[in-house]
Symmetry: C2
């Protein structure tokens, strides 16, 4: 496509917007995420010498076109919803205004980055609701779809309110709090379970978390009581245990009783193993004495809805609004803004989708300028600041949207100005 | 865990195996994949100076331990099933024999790499069966879970029999054939659809693929007839069209008729849009005149089964078999081999899981030595050679396993020698 544009000298100003066409049935709202990585990409995208050489020799492209890519840079403007903003179907969360060839070239990676973190944050926030304040840690590195997915899902889940991750690189990269426990192999590599517990605890004197279920959970808990007291006398603290199999509620109750009767009321119980928001909800509702959850695979791959029906579509070219009219995939044309209204208690009351020129809307505009001339404008929020913002946003959600079951749709109306533009653009086709 | 092992000087020989505990209900078999990237990782894994510095300063580790990581290298041995081998629950597809701390450190990334490509190849092969020889192209970059997932799913789907990908980097990296078409935005950026078709075709004179459904599919097809003949007179060939929305079978029939009546019998029809093996099966069964399929999201994220219940477990330490006995997660101990038997027609007839020392088994051993002392042994198959091997393997599958619906389980038996070892290891716990 770029070569065809190049051949014709087509490079007018293009407006693309990223949005989700339809929410999965399993989601009452989505959480905008991935903007930080999208902006990094737009600022840093270049063709390497190796890539240019390959393009030159692959037999598909004219030399002059490949030469033009050598100093390719993204020089456009971006408006976007801040990370952590709840959003709904057809609401753009990011708008690119740039020369056509630049705006087009970045399409696939922009979608790839915005889609994935939005997907994970929108799943993770449901776990946060279900956990009702209990600790949540991302455990999903191993079954994430590749290394980047693991790293970005640590970030997206933290943004949505998780407390930390076991993916160490996410600590190095973003300062996300790190949590770890032992694996079963650590226990198995020792001749006895108790010896494994003692070795691990002595290497983590400030507070180890020990895995109880390698052989027999309650037997392990009973063995641990004496060890915990003995080590405490030497200043070695065992902070928590982890349960990873079987009936977690039943094991947690029996282990809690063993610890309480053993005068270890402060020894916390952590649970993991195929957890998602529904399993957490059940455990919390049953008042299982579990202090925190390790949530892996099902959150990291958004197992019940592992993709979003998202798109990055041309809405205006060279000053003219554009509209795709494919069956079931028609778009709203033009540059758009989302206005959000709140009720007297500060709860979200309804959104309006309209053209940016529409000065008639009340409420708060959600898309804000974030990049101009290919560079970020204004201060970059830290991940912790974005997380604080997200948590405040979630508090403003209508109560029904915070439930795990499907809620009545949140009201999103299309303003008359946009409807008129769509009709006009439709007729022009 | 590594620090605790370091503190105790524990670094005996450990044997870990990677396997899937249980197949998803949606799969009759799995396809081993990702070995090449796993071996690359084992050969190249190092701690960077930046990482060592961060580990030194994060407050969690002893300086002597962090120092020991500076020259950390994987020096172990690996046996594995060749990529493209069909396998079943509890069959190890990779065995690591290495000093404990090396074998442990690589766990998360090894799982991450083997899990994902196995996941995608096992989904993609179902599309290959459904397509019955029609062309299949990976279109999934945008909704893959990150950039690495996009790249590796292009590889895994090609391994499983796809014809190519639209992810250009996969062409550069592995020589995977590249296929591309235009996006709707290309049409929309032009004032008329016909002008867009002509521009794109002239920039791809050897054979363009044009997208028909931006406004009205059949109207676009009719407009194309005259253009195709006119351009053919100038040596510019339009090779194919793509349908991306609506009732693909109905559109394909109408478009085929328009082309055939327009003396364009060689103009191929390509279809895309939320396709998976079931949609492809329906289109092929309905004899829709579609010559090839672009398959994206649902294949790339394995939407109906987006993760596998896989594990990398310690099976032997310091010469002693080990067995995890957690509820629902008990493992078979020791170093194991899978023997596969074939019937007279060369079809797979049954597997036996046993200890490597068991000399009583008939058939073909599936786990082969692939790495010794941290280096690959023998020639590395090219991706095309691995793909040829995979396709031959799929031809040997029992017919029922090639169906999209659940088949009766393939017979995998546990040999008496392994059962005896499990009993003995169980008692030792």
């Amino acid at each position: 496509m770029l070569q065809a544009y190049f051949d014709r000298g087509m490079n007018g100003t293009a407006v693309f917007e990223f949005f989700v066409r339809k929410l999965p049935e399993e989601r009452n709202f989505l959480v905008a995420a991935g903007l930080e990585q999208a902006l990094d990409y737009l600022e840093e995208a270049r063709f390497s010498d190796e890539e240019l050489e390959w393009l030159r020799n692959c037999g598909r492209f004219h030399p002059a076109f490949v030469d033009s890519l050598a100093d390719w840079r993204f020089s456009g403007a971006v408006d976007a919803m801040p990370e952590g903003t709840p959003f709904f179907a057809n609401e753009p969360i990011l708008r690119v205004v740039a020369p056509l060839r630049e705006a087009q070239l970045v399409e696939s990676r922009l979608i790839n980055l915005l889609h994935f973190q939005t997907l994970v944050a929108s799943k993770a926030v449901r776990c946060v609701f279900a956990a009702r304040g209990r600790r949540l840690v991302d455990f999903g590195l191993r079954r994430s779809h590749g290394a980047e997915a693991a790293l970005l899902s640590a970030r997206a889940s933290y943004l949505a309110g998780f407390d930390g991750t076991s993916t160490v690189l996410a600590g190095l990269r973003w300062g996300i709090p790190l949590y770890g426990t032992m694996a079963h192999s650590f226990i198995q590599a020792h001749d006895t379970e108790l010896q494994a517990f003692e070795h691990f605890a002595r290497s983590h004197p400030a507070g180890a978390t020990l895995l109880l279920d390698t052989y027999d959970t309650e037997a392990a808990a009973s063995k641990l009581v004496g060890l915990a007291h003995r080590l405490a006398g030497e200043g070695v603290i065992i902070r928590a245990v982890r349960l990873d199999s079987g009936d977690l509620a039943a094991h947690a109750r029996r282990v809690r009783l063993i610890f309480d009767e053993g005068d270890l009321a402060n020894l916390a119980i952590f649970a993991s193993g195929n957890l998602d928001e529904f399993a957490i909800h059940d455990l919390v509702s049953a008042a299982a004495p579990i202090d925190g959850f390790g949530v892996g695979t099902r959150m990291n791959v958004a197992a019940d809805a592992p993709y979003l029906d998202c798109a990055y579509k041309l809405q205006e070219y060279d000053g003219q609004p554009r509209r795709k009219r494919s069956e079931g995939k028609a778009t709203w044309p033009g540059r758009k803004q989302v206005w959000r209204r709140y009720d007297d208690e500060g709860r979200m009351a309804g959104d309006t989708l309209t053209v940016v020129e529409d000065g008639t809307q009340a409420g708060e505009p959600l898309l804000l300028p974030i990049m101009a001339d290919g560079k970020r404008v204004g201060a970059i929020p830290t991940l912790d600041a974005a997380r604080d913002y997200a948590i405040r946003q979630f508090e403003a959600l209508p109560a029904a949207l915070r439930h795990l079951v499907p809620a009545p749709p949140y009201p999103v109306t299309v303003a008359p100005a946009l409807q008129a533009l769509a009709r006009a653009t439709g007729e022009a086709g």
